[in-house]
């Protein structure tokens, strides 16, 4: 690699170093200086996990070639406070609980620090605007903004420094603000996620992924890649025992790497381990794969038709799982209804977009234990599956869970840990794989796209007499968590309402789309979207208040759930009361008042988003635009 001499100052330390000419400031800080508090979340300037000060101005270090920083003064998260101490901003993040997974937090602290350096008097709207280049997926930003406002007040002397200390516990921990134990490690950037870890003599892995949604693998020629200088090994499914290959949360239908055919775009086909990332990426382009494209299925309803292409031989009907729930008698229920409503609801595929892309390290220790370090949300299950696949006793496989930089269900699947283990066993060297953001999006599971056909029978008084609920979900190419998601969707299908006659079917179907898996709510969201929409539409049709129709049907103590569980506690009445009060709901059907309703504005409602809070002429404020 062509080299470049870089002289600069980082956290008040003079640095003079030769480095690769193409490196970004982010790479230089992380790889050459081991300052891993600066994270890489997207590599495209979108997320702000890599924010650093360059000559006093906050920039995104993933968008800055390191050459540009030569001669500059750099300040990173590690340089904000002296070792062992925290700045008021960091303390405020600790105090308010502003860190959750923590992966965005170093960048967020940097942006917050910059906001107050630029304008120590910035109001909340300006603070939000100045943090606009940093994304968080866990906290919802509320705690972060609280932290910045607290730090602002302390720095300005409007509040004493003690305001940053932990509050004393009163009579009870319930309702008490307890500081998170791990927050200091996150606000200081000291916590190491898998991509921040380094081991001596470690290889870098890159993965060749399928460009086709459904294709037979005719041949894979890795010889040219293997012959390259710096390439240590190339693996394919040939390196995994065929008889035991297969993982998944419920059904073990997914090979460590595509075996015989690929089932979705982005499926791993081969992996290279090399002395560095640049060589590994170059080697990928030297692997020759001959594919023979197969007809695919891209819509779950098409996939269930006779004669549709089959994704997995074991499931010729392409059904991953069908969950039926029956209670009472729907025919009688509909016969007793005064009004029957029918509609279709669909939801889309959603990416988790945790700030930390998948990353992991594997090595074989001196006792021949294969060790995998990764932000896996399911290490015990992964350990069992991998020991079975590799034919190793369970005590020769160890999984270490690195800090999870956001998961939301998306890190439950063992989509790369197997490849790392195979390379470690083949080379007896530590090996690391860090996904790019694009790779994370293309290869990880998504929220199930769903289509629900809904039929609801009601009496004129609002009482539900029967529900027929049928949901088809696109499971994508592999089973992953589909079975569990279908179970949860079925159990929660008709919502927190007591329905005496119901017929529920949820079905996940194989297609050649990106696999669907676990995602916050685990099937609940798709079902509740349909049910709660249906409740509002029923309220409209019956001329009722939407709270009223819910109170009439809600589960109470003694109610039987859809799966015949008798409830000994229920709180929906209190939830509805609180929601009605807090939203200042005006009684009546939802559709009759139009722009006359007065419960849509007010103090605690969010004004439409606009920018320009920092302009001081006051003519363009949010309030005036809303008015």
């Amino acid at each position: 690699m062509p080299k470049l001499k870089i002289d600069l100052e980082v956290n008040n330390r003079k640095i003079s170093k030769e480095t690769d000419a193409h490196k970004r400031l982010l790479d230089f800080l992380r790889d050459d200086l081991n300052l891993t508090g600066t994270k890489e979340g997207c590599g495209a300037g979108e997320c702000g996990t890599c924010s650093v000060f360059v000559d006093g101005k906050l920039v995104k270090s993933c968008l800055m070639p390191v050459a540009k920083a030569s001669g500059a003064k750099i300040e990173t998260i590690e340089g904000l406070a002296d070792p062992g101490s925290l700045t008021p901003m960091q303390k405020a993040f600790h105090k308010t609980g502003a860190s959750q997974c923590g992966y965005c937090i170093p960048g967020m602290v940097m942006a917050a620090t910059s906001a107050l350096r630029e304008n120590p008097k910035a109001d909340i709207e300006e603070i939000k605007e100045r943090l606009g280049g940093n994304i968080c997926r866990c906290t919802g930003y509320t705690k972060i903004f609280e932290a910045v406002e607290l730090a602002k007040a302390v720095i300005a002397g409007d509040m004493p420094e003690e305001a940053l200390n932990e509050e004393e516990v009163g009579k009870s921990y319930i309702g008490h603000n307890v500081r998170r134990l791990d927050a200091p490690s996150k606000v200081s950037g000291r916590l190491r996620y898998a991509a921040d870890m380094k081991m001596h003599d470690m290889l870098q892995m890159q993965v060749l992924r399928s460009p086709h949604p459904h294709a037979k693998i005719v041949s894979i020629d890795t010889s040219e890649a293997e012959a390259m200088d710096g390439v240590v090994c190339v693996i394919t499914s040939d390196d995994v025992p065929e008889q035991t290959d297969g993982f998944g949360v419920f059904v073990h239908d997914q090979p460590i790497m595509a075996r015989g055919k690929v089932r979705h775009v982005g499926e791993a086909v081969a992996a290279v381990a090399a002395e560095d990332l640049v060589i590994a990426r170059k080697a990928l382009s030297k692997i020759k794969v001959v594919y023979e494209e197969l007809p695919g299925v891209y819509d779950p309803e098409d996939a269930m038709k006779k004669g549709a292409a089959v994704v997995h031989d074991y499931a010729p009907d392409n059904i991953v799982k069908h969950i039926p729930v029956r209670k009472g008698d729907v025919d009688t229920g509909f016969a007793n209804a005064d009004l029957i409503l029918e509609d279709e609801f669909s939801t889309q595929q959603v990416e988790h977009a945790y700030l930390e892309p998948e990353a992991g390290i594997a090595y074989v220790d001196a006792d021949d234990v294969v060790v995998v370090i990764s932000p896996s949300q399911n290490i015990t299950h992964h350990r069992h599956m991998l020991s079975h696949i590799l034919g190793l006793p369970i005590n020769k496989v160890r999984f270490i869970m690195s800090p999870v930089g956001g998961g939301f269900g998306g890190k439950e699947d063992m989509i790369y840990q197997g490849m790392l283990a195979v390379v470690a066993m083949k080379t007896h060297r530590p090996v690391q794989l860090n996904f790019t953001r694009e790779e994370s999006i293309i290869a990880s599971a998504k929220r199930h796209p769903s289509r629900t056909h809904y039929k609801m029978g009601l009496k004129w008084n609002g009482e539900i007499t029967a529900i027929q609920f049928s949901m088809i979900s696109d499971g994508g190419a592999y089973g992953m968590s589909s079975e569990g998601v279908m179970r949860k969707a079925a159990i929660l299908s008709c919502g927190p309402y007591e329905v005496h006659n119901l017929s529920v079917d949820t079905t996940a179907v194989y297609t050649n789309n990106t696999p669907s898996g676990a995602f916050r709510t685990f099937g609940g969201m798709q079902a509740q979207f349909a049910t709660e929409s249906m409740m509002d539409m029923a309220a409209e049709a019956l001329g009722m208040d939407p709270f009223e129709i819910r109170r009439i049907n809600m589960m109470k103590i003694g109610s039987k759930t859809h799966t015949q569980h008798k409830l000994t506690a229920a709180s929906l009445d209190r939830c509805l009361d609180a929601a009605e009060t807090e939203s200042r709901w005006e009684k009546g059907t939802p559709n009759v008042r139009g722009d006359k309703r007065s419960d849509l504005g007010g103090d605690d409602t969010r004004a439409p988003c606009t920018l320009g809070a920092r302009f001081t002429n006051g003519k363009n404020t949010n309030e005036e635009r809303v008015a």
Binding site: M1, E46, L58, M64, P65
Partner: protein
């Protein structure tokens, strides 16, 4: 992933031009570099190897700005954040702070230059309509027999189409000159998929000057972005309004003319309805932002 053999940081225009004219085939000129790094990634250009980068951000001649004869000359290194922080720029280019606040985010604005935004010639660049409304002229420098020569183009002549400009090999944007419009009110309308860090689907820059009574349009400047391959100056709307009494009715009827200018290849109907709203809001907000005059709408006076 972006890799390269050499990365140059020339400090004078002459050395930049020399390096650039001798750079091997496939080399790239960079300024803020905020577009090229995201470009060289999966799903876009993929892994790219560039023989040589010539980075112009340390060229002394490209620094700062100067004012003469009613025009302001911005050196090629003026970044978007300068439009929010530099008092002279805020005063003389009243639409630019509003344009800048919608451009990327504070951190990217510290790096991204106006000249680089124009050079990329994206049909959805935020800078092009604002520059068109300011009668912007782009100055290109090149070496000819060892001498530095320049050519000048209006921004709409400079941009030939999506990603294409009149820049020839060896040429570098050295400055952008704009009308200095102290006393005007400015505004910028933009719609994208979300608020921060988003490319426009459509945008509109407006500059308005009401006369000293606040009742008559002395001047109106409007330009649209995102609705065609190049920025579109709304000459018909402007001439309909100049000299007219300021009223909502006049603004509404003039705004209808804007829809006819929409020539983008996708989402035409959507963009047509958006630009009518943009022109109306753009003019009204620019009037509000004209700080020295209290604008009086005809209808409100008669009401």
């Amino acid at each position: 992933m972006l890799t390269c053999d050499t990365y140059h940081l020339p400090t004078t225009l002459r050395s930049a031009l020399e390096l650039w004219s001798k750079a091997p085939e496939g080399s790239r000129l960079v300024s803020g570099a905020t577009d090229i790094l995201p470009w060289a990634r999966e799903g876009r250009a993929g892994d790219v190897h560039i023989p040589s980068f010539v980075d112009v951000t340390r060229v002394a001649e490209f620094e700062g700005h100067s004012v003469a004869h009613g025009r302001i000359r911005l050196g090629a290194n003026v970044v978007y954040q300068d439009f929010l922080t530099d008092g002279v720029l805020k005063h003389l280019l009243p639409c630019m702070p509003y344009c800048a606040i919608w451009f990327a985010d504070d951190q990217i604005r510290e790096q991204a230059t106006l000249a680089g935004n124009l050079a990329n010639a994206s049909p959805v660049a935020d800078g092009t309509p604002a520059v068109a409304a300011l009668n912007g002229v782009v100055e290109l420098a090149r070496l000819e027999n060892g001498e530095i020569k320049t050519r000048n183009f209006t921004v709409s002549d400079f941009i030939l189409g999506p990603g294409r400009t009149v820049l020839q090999s060896g040429e570098i944007i050295s400055s952008v000159s704009l009308d200095a419009l102290a006393g005007y009110g400015g505004s910028f309308q933009k719609v994208g998929q979300r608020r921060s860090l988003v490319i426009s689907i459509a945008c509109c820059a407006a500059l308005v000057k009401a006369d000293s009574t606040g009742r008559v349009f002395d001047d109106v400047r409007l330009a649209l972005g995102g609705v065609g391959p190049r920025p579109i100056r709304l000459n018909a709307v402007e001439s309909r309004l100049r000299g007219e009494k300021i009223s909502r009715r006049t603004i509404n009827s003039a705004a209808q003319l804007a829809a006819d200018e929409v020539a983008s290849r996708s989402r035409q109907e959507y963009r047509r309805s958006v630009v009518i709203g943009f022109v109306k809001a753009g003019i009204e907000e620019a009037l509000e932002n004209q700080s020295d005059v209290d604008v009086k709408f005809e209808e409100l006076e008669n009401a």
